[in-house]
Symmetry: C2
Subunit: 198 residues, 2 copies
């Protein structure tokens, strides 16, 4: 443990423990122990446990958003959509989501706090996560014209349902200790999308 990396260690330890037990069950002492750092270091870098939680949310979201991002140099919207869904399946099968989704944990645990800044931050991240897909979906829907609904609303709706399937899959994967459920859920979304776009 060299000087200067305590903050990073704390973020990683906190992420792991929050995913394993939830936010309120992940104690400051335990986070410090896992990070190999003392309480002094903790409260030097974060003014409270809530501040740490917000930082962990950023840290986690950054990696998830990066994992879902694809190179944007593909010609047609349909190709981009296809690439995004393929990537999504890979992410679902990969190690990043195997322990669950930190945003989901926060969402369920912080739903009715008096101060809901953390909850609002989570909601914002969810929106951001769906925005890339929504954009591509809008282009695809516009391209094929003949929309029963306006493309804008329909794209927004379908993008939200991707997050629904992803988070639902993660929840059931955790309940059953079966990470394959996430992949299954993403594949279901892909099929549904194909059917509803055709």
């Amino acid at each position: 443990m060299t000087r200067g990396e305590a903050r990073q260690q704390l973020l990683e330890a906190a992420e792991e423990l929050v995913l394993a037990r939830g936010l309120s069950a992940a104690t400051v002492d335990e986070i410090c122990r896992l990070a190999g750092v003392t309480k002094g270091a903790f409260y030097h870098h974060f003014k409270s446990k809530d501040a740490l939680a917000l930082a962990v949310l950023d840290h986690y979201y950054g990696r998830v958003a990066a994992a879902f991002t694809i190179a944007s140099d593909l010609a047609s919207p349909r190709e981009r959509l296809d690439a995004m869904l393929t990537r999504a399946e890979e992410v679902a099968a990969g190690p990043l989501l195997r322990r669950g989704c930190l945003m989901a944990v926060f969402a369920l645990e912080l739903a009715e706090r008096p101060d809901d800044r953390l909850r609002a931050a989570v909601a914002e991240r969810f929106d951001q996560l769906g925005f890339g897909l929504e954009t591509v979906l809008r282009q695809v829907l516009r391209e094929q014209g003949c929309a029963p609904k306006p493309a804008r609303a329909q794209a927004s709706f379908l993008a939200r349902q991707f997050l629904v399937c992803l988070e639902g899959g993660i929840t059931l994967a955790k309940a059953h200790k079966d990470p394959e459920r996430v992949v299954e859920a993403v594949r279901f979304y892909r099929k549904s999308l194909a059917a509803q776009l055709a």
Copy 2:
């Protein structure tokens, strides 16, 4: 507060607090306070906080399962399937799921406990909840024959995806404080099912 109803009061208080803050943040003292009862009553009826959690799970699941159940005297499998999905939309819009899903809270919070009896109980309830739908789906798939996959596996897959959409919808509803997301998710599932059955 008359004698004999402390247990029921404790179950209801615990359900409310767990849905609001999660299991570990819902303290025994607070549960007792909300139930209008003392610690003595708590530990008279439940030998530990975990025992209460299991009882709350039963209490909650019973009501959810009842809400999703339909009269089974409808003639054709397709009619039954349709009735189930209509009912599902009603439940999604109703008060029962407005505060979230207790099973999802448990699943995320108890995922990596050394003793995973509670987690296993949650997984079992999820399976039970999907079983009714799975049965009807199998009949519908058999009826229309010409399956690309065996009807058994396909019905099981599609029934799981209902729970995926339901729980995913609930998670995002909590994150955004927008109960309508649950209804949206169930409607998405219904459309997807219609597309993939046709």
